[in-house]
Amino acid sequence: MFFRILGESFLRNPARKWLEGAALALGMAITTAAMLTALDVSDRMAREFRRLGANLVVTSKTDTLPLVIAGTDFRPVEEGAWLRQSDLGKLRTIFWRLNIVGFSPFLEAPGEIARGQNRFVTRVIGTWVDHAVAVPDGTTFRTGVLWTHPWWKIEGAWFPDSSPAAGATAENSAGAPASAPQLDAVFGASLASRAGIHQGDIIILRAAGREFRLRASGILTTGGPEDQAIVAPLAFVQDLTGHPGEYRRLLVSALTTPEDQFGRRDPSTLSPTEYDRWFCTPYISAIAFQIKEALPGADVRVIRQVADTEGRVLGKLSALFWLVSLTALLAAALVIGSASATTVLERRREIGLMKALGAGRRSILSLFVAEQVLLALAGGLLGYVAGEGLGFLVGKIVFGIPATGRLVLFPVMMALALAVTLAGSLWPLGHVARLQAAPVLRGE
C-alpha cells in the first residue's frame, strides 16, 4: 500500500518531481564540479609554475664565491670546484623523484669569436638540451633546458645532444682545414646581431688556446645573459675546460607544495614523527634536502624568487577556489532546500485529503520523507555524474589535462543531497502534518 501510493505519487504528477529533481541534480553538479576544481587547482597550477624555470640550484660545497655580475662569472676559469655528472641519475631515485620535472647541468668557459676584422669576447655555456640520463634503477630520464628553461626561444634548431663532441673539436690554431669536423652550437640573439651571425654560418671560436669550428644551428633568445653567449653541448665545454664528466652548477625544476608554517620550520628541530611528515611532503626544503643526500659534496639552495612567488600565488588560488566552491555549495543547498519546500507546501490539499481518509501523521510523514529521499538519491547521483563530467571538461579546457575523477566525492555528495533535501522539506512537513483536514480541503 505504502509503495503503491509512493509509486502513484511519482507517476501522477511527474512535472513537479522532475523540476525538484532537476534543481537537485544541477545544484549537486555545481558543487561537485567546483570541488573537483578546488581539489585540483593547486596541483595543476604548480605544474604551470614550472614555466618559471628551475626552483633549486645545486653547486659544489667547496666552490669559491662566484663573482657573478649580470649573469657573467668573473672568476678565473681554473678556480673553484666541480661536481660529477655521473651522479645525476640519482636525482631520480630520491623519495620525491616523480616531482623532479627536469634538471640541467651548466659549465661555462670564456671564448672569443672572430668576424672579419672584429673580435667578440663571449662565453661558451655548455648544457643539455634533451639528454637521456641513465637512472640507477635501469631506466632513463630525458631532461635538459627544454624542461628547465621552457621560455628559451630558439630560431632554427638546437644542437643534437648526443653529438660526439670530443671527436668534433680540436684543431690547431694554424687555421682549420675545410674538412675539419664541425660542431653545432646555438648563438645568443644579442651576440648574433652584434657579430652579424645567421643560422647556418660557420664561426671560428677561439677558447682555451685552441680553435674550433662551430656551425650556428640556431639563434637563441632568453632575455637573460645567454643572449650574449654561445650555448653548446655540455660535453664540448667539458672537453674545452679540461673537466670531462663534470659540471659547475645544476638547475633543478621540481613540483612542490606551498610552504606553510610547518614547512618553514628547521628540520633539525622536528620530532621523529614530525620529521617523517616533513620528509614525506613535497615541500621545497624537503626536496632540497633529499637532493643534497643524493649528490655527494653538493650544496642545494632554494631559488627564493621563484619558490616564494609560486607558494604565495598557489596558496591564494587554492584558498580562492575553496571559498568559491563553498559559496556554490551553500547557494545550491539553499536553492534545493527551497525547491523541496515548495513541492511540499503545494501539496497541502493532498495531505488534507489523506487525513480525511484516516491517514495518521506518521504515515503521511514517512510517505513524504520516502519520496524526498528517493528524489535526493536520484538527483544526487545524476548531479554527481554531471559534475564529474563538467570538472573533467573545465580541466581539459583550462589545463589540457582533465581533472582527476574522485570517487571520494560520491558519498559526500549523496549525503549532502539527502541532508539538504530533508532539511528543506522538514520544516514544511512538520507544518503540514499538523494541519486540520477540513479547512485545508475547504481551501483555506
Binding site: 618559471l52 621560455w151 568559491v324 536553492v335 515548495t342 583550462v398
Partner: protein, 395 residues
C-alpha cells in the same frame, strides 16, 4: 483592479513566495559574488606575481662588465631623469604624453646598482653591489633576511651580506666587515644576512654612495632595475617608450618573467572564467527549476480565474508581474549580499576587499528577472487549458 489582485496574490501566497525568494536570493548572491571576484582576482594575482621581481633593466649598450671597465657604467642627466621616476610625478608624468599611458606601465619600485669586485676579510674576492637598500623590500620581497633590512638609503655604515658570502667569512648580524678596493677601504657593520638562492647569496650589499666612493666612480651606476606593472605587452611598450627618452642606454624587459607571467595569467584567467561561467549557468538553471515549479503550482489559480471569466491575457500578465517582482526582489537583495560576500572572500584570500563593479548589480537583477519570467513561461501554455479539467484535477 490589476494592482489590487497582484497585492492580494503576494500577500496570500507569501509563504510560498518567500521560499522561492530564498532560492532567487541565494542564486543571485553567488552570481554577484563570483562576477565581482572574476575581475578582481585576476588583478590581485597579477600583483602577487609582480613579486617575481624587477622586470625591466636599464644599462649601457656596451657589453656587461665589472666597474673596472668604465664603458659599463653610466651616469649624468639620463640617470637622474630615470631615478626621478621613483617619485610620483617623475616618469609617469612624462609618459602621460605618450603611448605608455593607461592601465599598467607604472613603476612600482626601482633601484640603481653599481657592481664592483672588492676584497674582503682575509683576501676573499666578492661582488659588492651598491644600491638603494631601502627599495629592496618592494623590489625583491622574496629575500629572506636574518637580522634587519636597511631602511635608510644614505646610511653609509651598514651592509647586508649574502648567506654564502657570510658563511665563507663567518659573519653574523652585528659583525664588522672591511671592504678594500685599490687603496681605499670601507668599514661596515653587518645589518642582516640575505638568502635568495640567486647570485645575491654571494654578494655584499651597501648603499650606493659607499660603493661609488670605494670604487672612485661618483655618480655612476652599472644598471637600474625596475619593477613595472601591467601585461607583458604593456611592459614591452613601456620599455620602448623609456628607451626613446634615454639615448645611449639599453632598456631591456626581462623576458623570462614577462613570458612565464603572461602564460600563467592566461591560465588563471581561463580557470576563473570557466568556473565562474559554469557556476553562473548552473545556478541560473537551478533557480529556473524552482520558479518553474512555482508556476506549475499556479495552474489551479489560472483555471479558477479563467472560470470566473478572466481574460487569458490579463491573467497571464498578472502572473508574469508577480514573477517579475519576485525576480527583481531576489536580484536586488542577492546583488547586495553578493557584494558583501565577495568583499569578505577578497579579504580572506588577498587581505583587501574585492573592488566592487557597479555594473554587476543591474546585470544580476536583469538575470534574476529573466530567470523568474522564464520560469513563469509554462503559464502561457495554459491559454488553451479547460478550466474544469484543471480545477477537477487539483481538487
Amino acid at each position: 483592479m490589476f494592482w489590487r489582485l497582484l497585492r492580494q496574490m503576494i500577500v496570500q501566497g507569501r509563504g510560498r513566495l518567500g521560499v522561492a525568494l530564498v532560492a532567487l536570493v541565494s542564486g543571485a548572491t553567488v552570481s554577484a559574488a563570483l562576477l565581482n571576484l572574476e575581475f578582481d582576482a585576476e588583478r590581485k594575482i597579477t600583483r602577487e606575481l609582480r613579486t617575481l621581481g624587477p622586470n625591466v633593466l636599464v644599462r649601457t649598450s656596451a657589453a656587461p662588465g665589472a666597474a673596472d671597465d668604465t664603458g659599463a657604467v653610466f651616469g649624468g642627466e639620463a640617470l637622474d631623469a630615470l631615478l626621478a621616476t621613483e617619485s610620483e610625478n617623475g616618469w609617469r608624468h612624462k609618459a602621460a604624453s605618450t603611448e605608455a599611458r593607461g592601465e599598467g606601465g607604472e613603476v612600482s619600485a626601482l633601484a640603481p646598482s653599481l657592481y664592483v669586485i672588492v676584497r674582503a676579510g682575509s683576501d676573499t674576492s666578492l661582488v659588492l653591489s651598491g644600491t638603494w637598500l631601502d627599495a629592496y623590500p618592494r623590489l625583491a620581497p622574496w629575500w629572506r633576511v636574518e637580522g634587519a633590512w636597511v631602511t635608510d638609503r644614505n646610511d653609509a655604515a651598514v651592509c647586508l651580506v649574502g648567506h654564502q658570502a657570510a658563511a665563507r667569512m663567518v659573519l653574523r648580524p652585528g659583525s664588522r666587515l672591511e671592504l678594500r678596493y685599490a687603496n681605499r677601504s670601507a668599514a661596515l657593520r653587518v645589518a642582516g644576512i640575505v638568502s635568495t638562492g640567486g647570485a645575491e647569496d654571494d654578494q655584499v650589499f651597501v648603499n650606493l654612495p659607499v660603493a661609488q666612493e670605494l670604487s672612485g666612480l661618483p655618480g655612476k651606476v652599472s644598471l637600474v632595475q625596475m619593477s613595472v606593472g601591467g601585461s607583458p605587452q604593456q611592459v614591452e611598450r613601456f620599455s620602448a617608450d623609456l628607451a626613446g627618452h634615454l639615448p645611449g642606454l639599453e632598456v631591456r624587459p626581462l623576458r623570462q618573467i614577462a613570458l612565464a607571467e603572461g602564460q600563467l595569467l592566461a591560465r588563471v584567467h581561463a580557470l576563473l572564467f570557466w568556473s565562474v561561467g559554469l557556476i553562473l549557468t548552473l545556478t541560473s538553471l537551478c533557480v529556473l527549476s524552482t520558479t518553474a515549479a512555482l508556476a506549475i503550482e499556479r495552474r489551479a489559480d489560472v483555471g479558477l480565474m479563467k472560470a470566473l471569466g478572466g481574460e487569458m491575457n490579463r491573467i497571464v500578465r498578472l502572473f508574469l508581474a508577480e514573477a517579475g517582482l519576485l525576480g527583481a526582489a531576489g536580484g536586488i537583495v542577492g546583488a547586495l549580499l553578493g557584494a558583501l560576500l565577495s568583499a569578505w572572500i577578497g579579504r580572506r584570500v588577498f587581505g583587501t576587499a574585492a573592488t566592487l563593479r557597479p555594473e554587476v548589480i543591474p546585470l544580476i537583477i536583469a538575470v534574476m528577472v529573466a530567470v523568474a519570467l522564464l520560469g513563469a513561461l509554462p503559464l502561457r501554455l495554459l491559454g488553451h487549458v479547460r478550466p474544469a479539467a484543471v480545477l477537477r484535477e487539483s481538487g
